[in-house]
């Protein structure tokens, strides 16, 4: 894990890039620009970004964009990708209806 205080000092202002309108999270339709702007406003972890922007929180649960987001954060912070903590894994791993999740096998409560 990198030093957040140091990272905040060095991050600099958000500067628009030509491809900021590219989608990173396909499910929740979150763009590269939105993520970059959030990082520059001080949201430096995947967890924070997920809660703030919902990137990686859609139907697929970050299957596709997880590593893209991680790389993007690392790039903005000028740290190795491995310094960026990956998102927490939670059940259910695949889309399941609320009905299914709420009703365990054979009439569970």
């Amino acid at each position: 894990m990198f030093d957040i205080q140091e990272a905040l000092k060095n991050i600099g202002p958000y500067v628009e890039e030509a491809d900021d309108d590219l989608l990173v999270c396909r499910c929740e339709e979150v763009t590269k620009g939105e993520i970059r702007r959030a990082i520059h406003s001080g949201l430096l972890t995947i967890e924070e970004l997920r809660r703030f922007l919902r990137c990686g929180m859609g139907l697929c649960q970050g299957q596709t964009c997880g590593s893209l987001t991680r790389r993007l954060v690392a790039k903005e912070l000028h740290v190795p990708v491995t310094d960026i903590e990956v998102a927490t894994s939670r059940s259910p791993m695949r889309p399941a209806s609320m009905k299914t999740c709420g009703l365990d096998e054979k009439g569970g409560e």
Binding site: R26, C27, E29, G58, L59, C60, Q63, T64, R94, P95
Partner: protein
């Protein structure tokens, strides 16, 4: 898009049982048990849904049920992954707009 009928390694493709289903009201045919997405592709349908925010078209992307981009409304249920859901006779398939069957005002 065509089916592969003869393959140099896999040989003759198994011929499925033809069943009817509808997509947005149009009568189509596909093989029973094949993924809904395959049947749609063979009928030339590539757009499965339009996204909620940007109203962009989406279709099959991973084809193994992970990316969830190919979801449609199947028999009234939204968010059904068509790439891994087997086709059944009489299925009612609809393009999904956001999470509903109706196009929202842009």
């Amino acid at each position: 898009m065509e089916r592969i009928t003869m393959h140099p390694i896999l040989g003759e493709s198994p011929e499925g049982k033809c069943v009817e289903f509808t997509c947005d009201g149009k009568k189509l045919e596909g093989y029973e048990g094949e993924p809904i997405a395959s049947a749609l592709r063979v009928n030339g349908i590539m757009v499965h849904r339009y996204t909620a925010k940007r109203h962009e078209p989406r279709g099959v992307f991973c084809a193994i049920g992970r990316c969830t981009d190919c979801v449609m409304i199947v028999d009234g249920i939204p968010n059904v992954r068509t790439c891994i859901t087997p086709l059944k006779a009489g299925m009612v398939v609809q393009t999904q707009y956001g999470v509903s069957a109706k196009e929202e005002a842009k």
